[in-house]
Amino acid sequence: MTLSVKSDALESGASQSRSARSLALKLLWRDWRSGELNILIAALMVAVTTVTSIGLFSDRIRNSIQDEAGSLLAADAQIRSRSAIPISAELRQQAESAGLATADIVTFQAMSFGNNDALQLSAVKAVSPEYPLKGELVIADQPFGEGRSVQTGPPPGEAWIISRLFLSLGVDIGDTIGVGDANLRVTAALITEPDEAGSFFDFNPRVMINTADVEQTGAVQLGSRARYRLLLGGDVEPFKAQVEDGLRPEYRWADVRDANEGVTSALDRAESFLLLAGSLGVMLAGVALALASRRYASRQLSHVALLKTLGLTPNAIARLYAGNLLILGVITVFAGLVVGWVLHWAFLELASGLLPRELEPAGWRPLWIGLLTGLVCLMAFAFPPVWVLRQVPPAKVLRSELEGGTLSQRVVVAIGAVAVVGLVWFYSGDVLLTAALLGGGLIALAGVSLMAAVLIRVVRRYGSRLGTTWRLGLSNLQRHSRQNAFQIMVFSIALMLLFILTLLRSSLIGEWQQQLPEGAPNNFAFNIFEDEIDGFQGILDANDVQREPLYPMIRGRLTEVNDEALTDRLDRLQPSGDDFRRELNLTWSDTLADDNAVVEGDWWEPGDAERNLISVEQEFAEQLEVGLGDALTFTIGGQQVNVTVKSIRSVQWDSLAPNFYVIFSGPILDGAGAAYITSFYLDADQKPLLAELLRQHPTVSVIEVDAIIRQIQDIVGQVTVAVEFILGLVLVAGFIVLLASVQATLDVRLVESAILRTLGARAALVRGGLWIEFASLGALAGLLGALGAELALAYFQTEMLNLSWTPHPLLWVTGPVLGGVVIGVIGVVSTRRVIKVPPMVVLRSV
């Protein structure tokens, strides 16, 4: 008998699942229409939207910045030869068969000959017709004339020379000059090369020719100091992975990261910030989702029990609710992807005035990440409470106090924490950041819940002397103290995250803009000899030009560190960055520049000038493993100079003021042979002053760096826009958490207020009580949020973003006030029903 029922049951199970599906859809549709699912949908949507639009946005900005930074290399990457060895044909072959575009550059020094026996040692750059692979080459038809951009370098037989060389050679457009042994016709004035940043300290004026004419110049012979570069364009990463390890020691791989340290460090920081903001946004949305799902599930408990009495099996219940959630989730996730795309697009449209140009398109990755985030959030936050509905005891229809089918808060928090940690790790690929977030999160959870309970008690004790309404509001607070402690925890963490982001944003943006203020130097002048200093400074000062101090500069090679030959040391340490075997620019100074800071040791004391001491730059010291007190030997002008390290400095390379790896405590070789260097700012109207300066001081070299400054400013602009945008999204996520959290305890509050009303309490009393309850909750949460934010900011600023710590006194005032007002308003608005609707209706409907 029992057996036959079982097989019968199986058959019936199959037909049950078919018809249950239409029932499920009907229930889903009704729940959706009644607004029961609004918060759940909104939270999931915000998670997906935030991640997707952050992804799209930062992808596009990263692509654009890479593209721009690529133009600083005139390529996506370069392979540079350290010595005068041409890049092997084999390597070029490999690059081309990997689908990359290639171009060649050869640089060397050669004498240029002009009219009337004028001659000038010049820095010749020979380029192949494909140059530049990226960026703009700008030439003019007149020296100092209006520039236009061109796609290729000079054709064979022609030379393009920079404007001031026209003056020193006494030539005009159309004249022929000699470059070494070759005779070439000057057809244009060279205004900017995309990759000129790399040639900052080429002292001699630039002559650009075609690679076909190199041989004819006779300047490049065995042993001559020519440098070769192979430019690569396209997706260089796979090729890099393929060849980098096997690269001959004379070759060095240079890519976008090396092109401009200032830009990349700003970019890295922006990425950390966006990542952090995105993760926090998802965390907030996850909490909202969990709260909303928990509330949804708890409101389904009695329905599930009823459906079970009607014969729906636990499996069918699980299928029904899980299926509904899946349908809802997938629709919402896709909607979130679309909204994320539209939002980022709309924002770019709005911000188009702020952005320098059309951004590069994004890849598919942000959409995949958005999809994955949505599904993980759905599974980890929304699913668990709904999945356990299958365990609701059917006898609950008879005795509503029966428990079962709900998850404990601990399990919920554990699942959520695993998901958040997994997601952050997935986004960042950074174990440290993930651990910091996890550790910070756990400390915040424990600390906040403890303090919330204490605060509630304190407030209750002293606040109830304020009158009936206060007593009512505060006794509510105390009565649900466990629940309220949880709610304060959620509120305060939401508020804390918002405070952190808002403040981090201001300090980041402030710092970026400070790096390149209006009037940052846009011209470098060097080769200023001692007897020219007064005249040169005089012209600048007479025209009110802002300028940096003049630094003496002399070239020298580092040859030994602590009696070890530099070559041996470099081979042993294999530093990844600069090759310090080249000639270094050395200076001496008695004052520390504003953009330098001593990080180890001390700056000069009186009398140090005679002691042969040096101060070295941090990265230089790290790569060569040089520490305080180490003995270094330089070869300068054929003489050996022995010095001792007294301090290590950090240098802000992107300040565009002259900066040096090595600063001596006193004049090197008594100042003999030094030329001076400075930088200054000319606005557009003052540009003609350059021609005047060069006419009067023809041996001085001037380089204009407007293009680089513009690039950095563009990037700062883009990143700022991105940060503002992301912050807006995270604010929305935070708001939804607050809403979900208030909603989570709404039923209890509605019932209590309705009972009070039936007992004859005036609407004003009930409303006042609710105001006080929610506002105090919010204020307490705001206070804790401020505390948490202050601690977290101290950590992030000093440890992760390399900024200095500053306290935020205003936060301690705005935190509680903002928390009180926002939570108060949300709470009272959400419970307005209790005052408007007759109490009986409230009691019946809940």
Binding site: M1, T2, V5, K6, D8, A9, S12, G13, S15, Q16, R18, S19, A20, S22, L23, K26, L27, R30, D31, S34, E36, S302, H303, L306, L307, K308, T309, L310, G311, L312, T313, P314, N315, A316, P393, P394, A395, V397, L398, R399, R844, S845
Partner: protein, 223 residues
């Protein structure tokens, strides 16, 4: 139709074990209407839950329509309930998001019956609520809600009907009307009715009365 053997239920609370059902042996036959009476907290609702397979006893056996439901798992019990059992509850237990008609359709849809809408509409008509088909529970009075619940219980065409204080939440006049409806439909359909109540008038309308007292059950001799 329904039989129990040594049915026991114990719950352990902070103060030790509490015995709610002390080994109950009983039998209810097909077509009978039986009232289970007793004071509040005597274990009536617990017994009803056991008989209907909503809950599992600590020990003992329950047979429902010839199947030992105490030997089935929750999955199989649910399927059995869907086929054999209908319910009417004190607090109606209508789904607020469904209309009156849709609430009546529920058991039919759960069973996968054909044309659930047509059959549900017929049942609504029989309880006199044809005009209220598209109303939601909150728009109906208590009496109307319970009539919808009665229609839902009979719509499943299950041979056994359990009713837990069906008039408990209604005023006496409305309660009486609902009871009339319940008994007349029961007679017409020939179902077995098991009813828990502490209302003697309602109990008196049943063929048999069983009284729960202190965890034991005894037959009340009818005059």
């Amino acid at each position: 139709m329904i039989e129990t053997r040594k049915l026991k239920q114990e719950v352990t609370s902070g103060e030790g074990a509490l015995v709610i059902l002390k080994g109950i042996d009983m039998a209810i036959y097909a077509g009978e209407s039986v009232a289970i009476v007793g004071v509040s907290g005597s274990g009536k609702s617990t017994l009803l839950g056991m008989l209907a397979g909503l809950d599992r006893p600590s020990s003992g056996e329950v047979f429902l329509a010839g199947t030992e439901i105490t030997a089935l798992d929750e999955e199989q019990r649910a399927l059995l309930r869907g086929k054999q059992v209908g319910f009417v509850f004190q607090n109606f237990q209508l789904l607020p998001s469904l209309t009156a008609l849709e609430n009546v359709m529920l058991p039919l849809e759960v069973k996968g019956a054909k044309e659930p809408q047509v059959r549900a509409a017929q049942w609504l008509e029989r309880v006199g609520l044809a005009g209220r088909a598209t109303h939601y529970p909150l728009q109906l009075s208590g009496g109307e809600q319970q009539r919808v619940a009665v229609a839902r219980a009979f719509a499943s065409e299950a041979p056994i009907l359990f009713a837990d204080e069906p008039t408990g939440n209604l005023d006496s006049r409305t309660g009486e009307k609902v009871a009339d409806l319940l008994f007349s439909l029961n007679r017409e359909s020939g179902t077995t009715l098991v009813l828990v109540t502490h209302d003697p008038k309602l109990a008196a309308r049943c063929d048999r009365q069983l009284e729960m007292e202190d965890g034991t059950l005894r037959e009340v001799a009818l005059a």
